[in-house]
């Protein structure tokens, strides 16, 4: 059995040794917010936080998260449904079209802000480079992160 926490909830599952964290989140825990884009780390759509650090859940073996804390997009808004400021900023800045990459972008964006990689817009772009958006909403994504991170450093 593999025991870990997802969005503050304890789970304890029998997982196959080959199963990725992404597969477990979707197929076993029915948390469909985390998306599968490429399944080999290229696109970032499956980004979640593991013990507070962003990782791609497709390349994280479920068996390896024993005893650790996972946070997915479902754990970002308040319990009453109040959007997180970054979720609100994505809406304000039209930071999506189809929305498929958005959960990964938001999880990556939260980490980008927490890591302090928002000194200027180029730094945001570099540290968001692990997340692809095939609709090309990058301008809005950078603006949304900027809105939450505060003004660029001079």
């Amino acid at each position: 059995m593999t025991a870990f926490e997802v969005n503050g909830r304890k789970v304890d599952l029998e997982v196959d040794p080959r199963e990725s964290l992404l597969a477990v989140l979707q197929d076993r825990l029915h948390l469909y917010g985390t998306k599968k884009g490429c399944d080999h780390g290229q696109c970032g759509a499956c980004t979640v936080h593991l013990d507070g650090r962003r990782v791609v859940s497709c390349l994280t073996l479920a068996s390896q998260v024993e005893g650790r804390e996972v946070r997915t997009i479902e754990g970002v808004a308040g319990e009453d449904g109040t959007l997180h400021p970054l979720q609100r900023a994505f809406i304000d800045n039209d930071a999506m079209q189809c929305g498929y990459c958005t959960p990964g972008q938001i999880m990556s964006g939260l980490a980008c802000i927490a890591e302090g990689h928002t000194g200027d817009d180029d730094e945001i772009r570099e540290y968001m480079s692990g997340n692809l958006c095939r609709c090309g909403a990058y301008v809005g994504i950078v603006a949304a992160i900027r809105q939450v991170a505060g003004p660029a450093e001079a």
Binding site: V55, C58, L59, A111
Partner: protein
């Protein structure tokens, strides 16, 4: 497929001895790609992430940094970037921020891909790999003798990588890489440079342009012989050009999906000149100060 999760290093060595086909896994950023696409179905995975000491680094009594095989790239950048600038720069080009939170130098060494980003800086600064087996104990393998072929390294089937030993930088170090995106780029080719002014020489290494990462020996010997190591003078453009040529000659690239052999040779010369210019300017600045 079995999943082995030893809690201690001794248990890990025992497990590897009992089943040498078990594939060690740290962050999983390499191994998992093959599993997800069913390219590889190892009989067993040997998860090393429960062994805390692999995630530690320390300064040894002989002044070397001993970096545990499980230290992720993100921590090499933040915690060791000042002392290992070449490796930190290479780390910053690995995968994406998400990958750098999971991927490790130990994993790069285990996979021994000719395109692995950590290899050129390890070669350029004379890194030594600490391997261990339950039967024969610790073995120190210089990076120059570690890479044997495409995805083949000098490890015995029962050995695991414990750590990498590197001397903190004694001079400027640079890494440069050609790729098509700011993330998730497997190097088209790469180049690392480490100046060792106290020894009046430099280390230079080429990545992703031969069956293994390798030292550019002729370029290194040329630099030791011809450069003004007092740091008083700028590099003559002819010296710079020759250094680039010799670096490119060290490579034996192939045409593949990421680039042609001719392009790689050309690009290696450019990267060699570029990193040398950066490093030499830093060195002259320090020498003058």
């Amino acid at each position: 497929m079995d999943f082995l999760r030893p809690a201690t290093w001794a248990e890990a060595l025992a497990a590897k001895a009992a089943d040498p086909t078990a594939v060690p896994i740290q962050g999983g950023t390499d191994v998992m790609v093959e599993i997800n696409f069913d390219v590889r179905r190892p009989p067993a995975l040997l998860d090393l992430t429960a062994i805390g000491e692999l995630g530690d680094w320390e300064l040894t009594a002989d002044g070397l940094l001993r970096v545990g095989a499980g230290v992720p790239y993100a921590r090499i950048i933040t915690e060791l970037g000042d002392r290992l600038p070449g490796l930190a720069q290479a780390s910053r080009t690995v995968g994406s921020p998400q990958i750098r939170n999971r991927g490790t130098v130990g994993g790069n060494l285990g996979a021994a891909s000719p395109a692995g980003d950590a290899h050129p800086p390890l070669l350029a600064c004379d890194a030594v790999i600490e391997a261990e087996s339950a039967a024969r104990g610790t073995r120190m393998i210089p990076a120059t003798g570690f890479y044997l072929g495409v995805k083949r390294n000098a490890l015995e089937p029962d050995e695991l990588i414990r750590a990498v030993h590197l001397r903190p930088a004694t001079g400027p170090q640079y890494f440069s890489k050609v790729g098509t995106r700011n993330a998730m780029v497997i190097a088209v080719c790469s180049f690392a440079l480490a100046l060792h002014p106290g020894e009046r020489r430099l280390g230079a290494a080429v990545g992703s342009a031969a069956p293994t990462p390798l030292r550019a020996r002729a370029a290194e010997e040329f630099a030791a012989r011809e450069f003004d190591w007092s740091g008083a003078t700028a590099l003559d453009p002819a010296l710079l050009a020759r250094f680039g040529e010799l670096a490119a000659e060290a490579a034996s690239p192939i045409d593949d999906v990421r680039g042609t052999a001719a392009y790689r040779r050309h690009a290696i010369a450019v990267l060699a000149r570029r990193t040398l210019t950066w490093a030499w300017n830093d060195y002259r600045g320090k020498a003058a100060a």
